[in-house]
């Protein structure tokens, strides 16, 4: 069973599926990006596939908002939506990205929820 890092609230949230090896700094900035837009996140540690897009797709399938974020061990990130095929995520960032890029991943996930342009 995946370990819950934050307790799922009564409200729907953007699900973050994080590989156990994912860097904490990436997780922090991604979650900050979602929070700045005023959308809640629930973070789950998933030991399964070490692939950001696959994790994001699985998270989006589980999220009641239909939006998931995946973080792999190397620090790559992806945002997915429940209606999209696995091969076409909303956005991805490579492992060697900078903190504004991670923040942007979170912001984009939140903006998919809020139906705002993805900038």
């Amino acid at each position: 069973m995946p370990e819950q890092l934050t307790a799922p609230g009564p409200r729907p949230a953007v699900l973050v599926y994080r590989h156990p090896g994912a860097p904490a700094a990436v997780l922090r900035q991604v979650c900050a990006g979602v929070e700045e837009e005023g959308v809640p996140t629930d973070v789950t540690e998933v030991p399964g596939p070490d692939d950001a897009t696959a994790l994001a797709h699985a998270a989006a399938g589980e999220s009641r908002l239909g939006v998931g974020i995946g973080l792999d061990a190397a620090g790559a990130a992806a945002v997915h939506h429940g209606t999209l095929p696995e091969g076409t995520p909303v956005v991805t960032t490579p492992a060697r990205a900078l903190s504004p890029d991670w923040r942007r991943v979170g912001r984009i996930a939140a903006r998919v929820v809020k139906h705002l342009p993805l900038v």
Binding site: A32, E35, E36, G38, T88, V91, R103, H115, P117, L118
Partner: protein, 631 residues
């Protein structure tokens, strides 16, 4: 004649070619000795080079060869190529803002970050976050946070200061962290973020920060008396700050800093006078007065002989710029240059517009809507510029080429092939640079006029009013209906219809206003909503084409009376627009006019009128000659 299956029509093979500002059209036909015409094919291609220059030859030959190929004929069979005599007008555009907002001494930040933090009003002295520790308790402080501070550190520093008794009432951040910071504060305060030039915020000055609840706008800083209350201003000072209040109206968040001489000025730029010569009079009008006043004066000076701007003013510069461009276009190799002073402006269309311009002295990329005036001007040229092209076409094709007739008259002839029309017929050619009208009376008399302003001006208005800064995008907004992408699988059209798509829409159009091009939805980079973009588009078209349609038709109508017109046929590229023909028809309906988009030859729509008109005129000429010979 070449051997073809079936009985090829007897007669001479002629091609009418219309070189327009943007497209070159050809019409291939066989003209029998009695003047009867058999149309064989048409073609359309992009005009190469500026209309009326030798560069046009390439496009003309391409269109001719295209029409020949469709009809299965060869160039050697062509008897005559007929070219249009270009409408003797060239048009130019200029736009100038007539108001500007300037912020001095960084006194005001009035922008709309998407996510400000907290709520309410905080008034205190501006202090850098690094100096918070040295702050005496009790005095209200507005904390200024430069770039590079992490949100956790900002929150910790503010919480520590509050714990030490410092009265932190608000914060101004450089980064996009306002919600993150407010979520971590022990005492909630309003926070404005995304202030790019935060280092320019003066420190040690009294400042007010206001953030409204989501969906609301600020109440205190956008009210002159609110500012007077906050900063304890006397009536003279209140009068001075009223532009600040006005500039902040409609924002969700704002910062106002009180500095000794800081100011926001909202000034009118003296644009100058437009001097119009015409109808034996010289009339002057201040461009500041707006489009309506200018057009009223232009109307009194009809027919216009020339228009000039007061030297040294903006309008002088605008018209000089138009004149210079026109002189360049009119210069023909091998002939002496056209002196700029000889170029007389024969029509002017003024349009009121507005330009969202970045405020000078702003700290966060603030944008103010400035008033502007756009002028389209038109000059007549006396030089025949098409003969040179005709010579080159003749050389390239190996067939005779001649000037077959004047554009306006030819267009009427072509328009008459539209099913359901009869004389008296007026055509409105909605082009790129000018709007042209021609009237053919029952007796066969033809008059033509040209007025300044057409498709190019519409594009320019859309471009500047939506602050797109990209002509191609503005063209897209002009040509295609709008939609809003509502999810990865559905989009809402501007009429409210919702369409589901099978393939996911790409993320770059998600939740955006898009134009529905044949290649799929393309985003319109604007923060305005669909309704606003639609209104701007329709207003631009109305102010140019509806105004010009009425202006041009009044000039050709007998006695200026629109009721004397019966059939009005719309031609030209803009007649293919999805709404302009309806807008013009609506405007003409009260005058009892039948108005619609032409359908030349019953198949070509509003295209090919001039090219097929050239063929018709040539056929009439041949028949006339035949009659003369036989009698």
């Amino acid at each position: 004649m070449g051997a073809r299956e079936g009985a090829p029509p007897e007669g001479l093979l002629v091609v009418g070619v219309d070189i327009g500002n943007s497209t070159t059209e050809a019409c291939l036909a066989v003209v029998a000795p009695d003047g009867s015409i058999t149309y064989l094919g048409t073609d359309l291609t992009r005009t190469t080079g500026v209309k009326g220059t030798p560069d046009n030859t390439e496009g003309a030959l391409k269109a001719i060869r295209g029409a020949l190929a469709r009809a299965g004929r060869s160039a050697g069979q062509v008897e005559t190529v007929l070219l249009n005599e270009a409408t003797p007008v060239i048009s130019g555009l200029a736009m100038e803002t007539i108001t500007e907002t300037i912020i001095t001494e960084s006194t005001m930040i009035g922008h709309n970050p998407t996510t400000p933090g907290g709520e309410g009003l905080g008034v205190g002295t501006t202090r850098s976050i690094g100096e918070l520790g040295e702050q005496q308790p009790g005095e209200p402080v507005v904390c200024v946070v430069p770039h590079g501070w992490d949100f956790d550190d900002v929150a910790a520093a503010l919480n520590a200061a509050v714990a030490a008794g410092v009265d932190v009432v608000a914060a101004i951040l450089a980064g996009d962290d306002a919600v993150l910071v407010t979520n971590r504060l022990t005492r909630p305060i309003p926070v404005v973020d995304e202030v790019a030039a935060v280092e320019k915020v003066p420190l040690g000055m009294l400042a007010a920060v206001e953030v409204a609840a989501p969906g609301r706008t600020i109440r205190t800083l956008s009210n002159s008396y609110g500012l007077a209350t906050v900063f304890d201003l006397d009536p003279v000072q209140t009068r001075q700050v009223s532009p600040v209040a006005r500039a902040l109206t409609g924002n969700r968040s704002a910062v106002v800093v009180r500095t000794p001489t800081g100011d926001v000025t909202d000034r009118r730029i003296p644009v100058g006078e437009l001097v119009l010569h015409g109808a034996g009079k010289t009339l002057r009008v201040d461009v500041d007065a707006g489009a309506e006043a200018i057009m009223e004066v232009v109307g009194r000076a009809q027919p216009l002989d020339d228009a000039r701007g007061e030297p040294g003013t903006h309008v002088g510069g605008m018209l000089a710029q138009v004149r210079d461009t026109m002189a360049d276009v009119m210069d023909v190799a091998g002939q002496p240059d056209v002196p700029v002073s000889d170029i007389a402006i024969r029509d002017v269309l003024a349009v009121d517009t507005f330009v969202p311009a970045e405020v000078r002295g702003g700290l966060a990329g603030e944008v103010a809507l400035e008033n502007a005036v756009a002028l389209a001007a038109m000059v007549r040229t006396s030089r025949s510029r098409m003969q040179l092209v005709a010579d080159l076409v003749s050389e390239g094709l190996g067939a005779a080429a001649e000037i077959g007739g004047v554009e306006g008259e030819m267009a009427v002839g072509g328009a008459l092939t539209t099913p359901g029309v009869d004389r008296p017929i007026a055509v409105l050619d909605l082009g790129g640079g000018s709007t042209d009208a021609a009237l053919l009376t029952r007796e066969g008399e033809c008059t033509a006029v040209h007025v300044a302003g057409a498709g190019e001006l519409v594009t320019k208005l859309i471009d500047s009013e939506l602050a797109l800064g990209d002509r191609e995008v503005a063209e897209g907004v002009k040509w295609f209906p709008l939609g809003k992408v509502e999810s990865f699988f559905h989009l809402r059209h501007e009429d409210g219809t919702v369409e589901f798509v099978d393939q996911p829409l790409p993320p770059h159009v998600f939740a955006r206003v898009v134009v529905l091009t044949p290649d799929g939805p393309a985003p319109v980079p604007t923060r305005y909503g669909l309704d606003h973009v639609r209104r701007v588009r329709r207003e631009a078209k109305r102010r140019v084409f509806v105004v010009n349609a009425l202006r041009a038709l009044r000039q050709v109508a007998p006695g200026g009376n629109l009721r004397a017109l019966e059939f009005v046929v719309l031609l030209g590229g803009s007649a293919l627009d999805f709404e302009i023909p309806d807008m013009i028809a609506d405007a003409l309906a009260p005058h009892g006019i039948v108005c619609g988009t032409g359908n030349v030859l019953g198949t070509e729509g509003p295209r090919n009128a001039v090219a097929s008109g050239l063929v018709r005129a040539h056929a009439a000429l041949l028949a006339e000659e035949a009659r003369c010979r036989s009698s």
